[in-house]
Symmetry: D2
Subunit: 144 residues, 4 copies
Amino acid sequence: MTIADDLARRVATEMHAREGTAPAWGLTLDEATEGYARVRMTLRADMLNGLGTGHGGMIFALADTAFAYACNSRNQATVAQQASIHFLSAPREGDVLIAEAREDAVIGRTGSYRVDVRTADGRPVAQFQGLSRAIGGPVLPIEE
Amino acid sequence: MTIADDLARRVATEMHAREGTAPAWGLTLDEATEGYARVRMTLRADMLNGLGTGHGGMIFALADTAFAYACNSRNQATVAQQASIHFLSAPREGDVLIAEAREDAVIGRTGSYRVDVRTADGRPVAQFQGLSRAIGGPVLPIEE
Amino acid sequence: MTIADDLARRVATEMHAREGTAPAWGLTLDEATEGYARVRMTLRADMLNGLGTGHGGMIFALADTAFAYACNSRNQATVAQQASIHFLSAPREGDVLIAEAREDAVIGRTGSYRVDVRTADGRPVAQFQGLSRAIGGPVLPIEE
Amino acid sequence: MTIADDLARRVATEMHAREGTAPAWGLTLDEATEGYARVRMTLRADMLNGLGTGHGGMIFALADTAFAYACNSRNQATVAQQASIHFLSAPREGDVLIAEAREDAVIGRTGSYRVDVRTADGRPVAQFQGLSRAIGGPVLPIEE
């Protein structure tokens, strides 16, 4: 593991631990490396819409979490400015959803990321695109 | 109240009752009329990100719910194909968030909606734009 | 006309005069007030895609121009960071397209705008949402 | 070259030949394979905004063209429903812009694509995400 990837893993682990949402959603951090993160979540009954399929808000929330870990991976505090999502299929209760975030470009304080959301057996659920902005300061304390 | 607005209110009430997410998020339906819906939610500790502010996923989820009620208001089952969100400010625990969805255009099966998310005292939190597609069939049973 | 609306009109007129694209596209500035702009363009043969309908790039370009005038209307130089567009119907050669940009929210340096694109007889063509960022400095020289 | 890639190249070549915009914008088709296309364009004076940099509309138009070639690559007529773009840096007159479109997911009639726009020396200009819908029928006549 490179130093950059180790830092990314530590930042994501810390963000995951601080979030109120991670335990509320049963969110698991699978992997985090520089500019990349993969998270998963099992769709529960309290995450379904009126049609009995996964609520778009929960699919977005999972993707947005992977995006947040990826865009903070260099330990520079970074926030989402905008995101867009394509809903491709409707997952069901009990489906395990996996979101993988990747960095497409970073220039100055601005970054562009994409997140692929699929079921555990590979069916496309959503494609997400996020725009990030570094706001200054670290996520983890800088070590001496 | 017009017949169209009464139908919209009944559809939204039924959708809200069927959703697993509405009680999970403490979501209140304020108003629904033809092509319009207003919902509210109080930000809880389990809706916060690692910075201690409202998780983008929950802000999107609230907006997406208002969008769903608005685009189903004519009792034609309709789903989200895409949505985009601008994050404008970071709400805090205890803030009451109000999302208002309005219809911008409908042509054939396709609709374009916008949702304004603000705190109860009017501070802009997010602007959302959603693309819908009618999939056929009613939400509520058609009455004789 | 208010002072704010007069400034908006002068800024948009100046931007329109400086642009290489305005004469290239035959773009007309109809109106500009604070946080608002309306522009129009007639679809020509050199603006059509392979299906013989208006190229999505030209529809976006018209909307993006209205957005630029609206978000610079207070004479603070402002650029687009992101935009999203819903394509609702396909205009034909000779159609006059009208784009109206309106401000949804401004907070600090960031603004959220929407643009409605229709044919002259009111058919919806596209809905656009743009995110702006003020970069400092005026568009027009500040008068003594 | 596979049969699928040869078909993609022939479809893109035909689309490029039919478009009014391709000669108007001086657009070159570099390569097209199944689910992929790369196009380029040199920024001219008539493509600049009032700041003297590339108009966002032209950057989008280039990306949208690459998207169109990629999502029609299997010779099934397909249109754009929605697109979102992140503007990352401002190109100058004379810059050669290269747009590469790739397929992220296709499910039923719906596809999700991303387009990376860079200058010839690799500087990120924009990231684009497009949602497509197959409308039935071929682009090229089906051969006996």
